[in-house]
Symmetry: C2
Subunit: 228 residues, 2 copies
DNA sequence: TCGGATATTATGTGCAGACATATTAGCGCC
DNA sequence: GGCGCTAATATGTCTGCACATAATATCCGA
């Protein structure tokens, strides 16, 4: 028997799967479905809203609800702290701070951080280890203007982890690319120059200013995986 | 003035950001927040539920709602059809079917598709073009047992697109890696052997059986990007 | 003191009704 | 026919209430 908003979600999904409601058609209104399933409209709404969020349905006021023609599948990625990621693989996490400098960042970095030409920033290079082997080479620019004092010793506390615990929740963007290892990356990660590396680049912001720009070059073999 | 569930979501987020509610603490109950904001509990519930879904809050019955200690950030990726992806970049999409064979797939493929050792599968190699230049090299195994007849001419209709339009909505998993271009990939994409390629691997399933296993090797410069 | 039954509590879900809002369809007018 | 206003309509959101469910806290007896 169908009941509850999850039950309705599954039933709607089933009808789409078996092509009772093929791609492109307008499905019955919330009102009609509520009557059919014997529930309140709010319950139908909850189910349809979830499916729209998943990209299976497209909803517009007055126009109604249609089955997506070319559904844009939405995959949700978890972006954990690196330590958690390593530990989730059953390995021991460690890290070494390789470099810590302060100064004016190069122009591309400054512009992506939204900093003026003379602003100073902190630069960190950290190598994360999984069971003692290189896992991720992290290069990070920090905007000291928005960091709460006192700053920790980043050789002891990973910047990655200190930030999520001590700096305001933020927005940002994240990008994934494949790049050949540069000279420095190759040396640090212990791979051949030009080896294919999975690279994550993230910029994070508070409401007003940029916090940090980080580039994670993962050791070969890294897989970013999720369910659809 | 704060009103509506989105307003409440923003206000809660603000309090977390400014550390009125630092990581780890239990925030007031829905009831209390409803009174404070002068709204119904359902409205507070909607706001908090969204934030919990985003990984900012952790909720447990009876225990209450806590600010996540090490928030697992969740990024949502859109997985569009390749044609849409190319057109969204303002380029013209085209594709060429390079290979179409049928036969018993290699063991690793058969096992990931959940096929028996003697089962037959269709193998396609397609090169997708953006403004005439190689964009993605697609290699795909199809399980003909679950495909609706008649099969189209995959030289005319991209398998990618035919599947989303003609096969039941499905679940699956998706993985991203960086790999050096093999001989064939290098030749097809027109890059040097060993060049770093961004690779997407997807397996999709109906409720019962595997539909397809596809590997997309993107031309250098590809960026998978999203907002957090 | 310990273990287990029981009460308490915060969230999860549901209902019926209401109003808001975006968007479309239709109508009238030129 | 084309344009602009108006009415109709489906979804979006909210309220106030209720009961379900899970997890914790408490109490009681051995």
């Amino acid at each position: 028997m169908i009941s509850g908003w999850e039950g309705i979600r599954e039933e709607v999904l089933r009808r789409i799967r078996v092509r009772d409601w093929p791609p492109g058609v307008t499905i019955p209104t919330e009102e009609e479905l509520a009557v059919e399933f014997g529930v309140a409209r709010a319950t139908v709404n909850r189910a349809l809203r979830e499916l729209a969020g998943a990209g299976v349905l497209e909803r517009r006021r007055k126009a109604g609800t249609r089955v997506a023609l070319l559904p844009v599948r939405k995959a949700t990625l978890d972006i954990p702290v690196i330590r958690q990621e390593v530990e989730a693989r059953g390995q021991a996490h460690g890290f070494t701070l390789l470099t810590r400098t302060e100064g004016a960042p190069p122009v591309p970095v400054a512009s992506r951080l939204g900093l003026g030409p003379s602003a100073r920033a902190i630069y960190l290079e950290t190598l994360h280890l999984a069971d003692g082997r290189p896992f991720v080479f992290e290069t990070r620019w920090l905007n000291p203007a928005v960091l709460p004092a006192p700053l920790p010793d980043f050789a002891v506390v990973s910047a990655n982890e200190w930030l999520v615990a001590h700096v305001a929740y933020e927005t940002g963007d994240i990008a994934f690319t494949a790049e050949g290892a540069g000279t420095r990356e190759a040396a640090v990660l212990g791979v051949a120059e030009g080896a294919a590396l999975f690279v994550t680049e993230r910029t994070t912001w508070t409401a007003e200013a940029a916090i940090t720009l980080v580039r994670l070059a993962h050791a070969p073999g890294y897989r970013l995986q999720t369910m659809i």
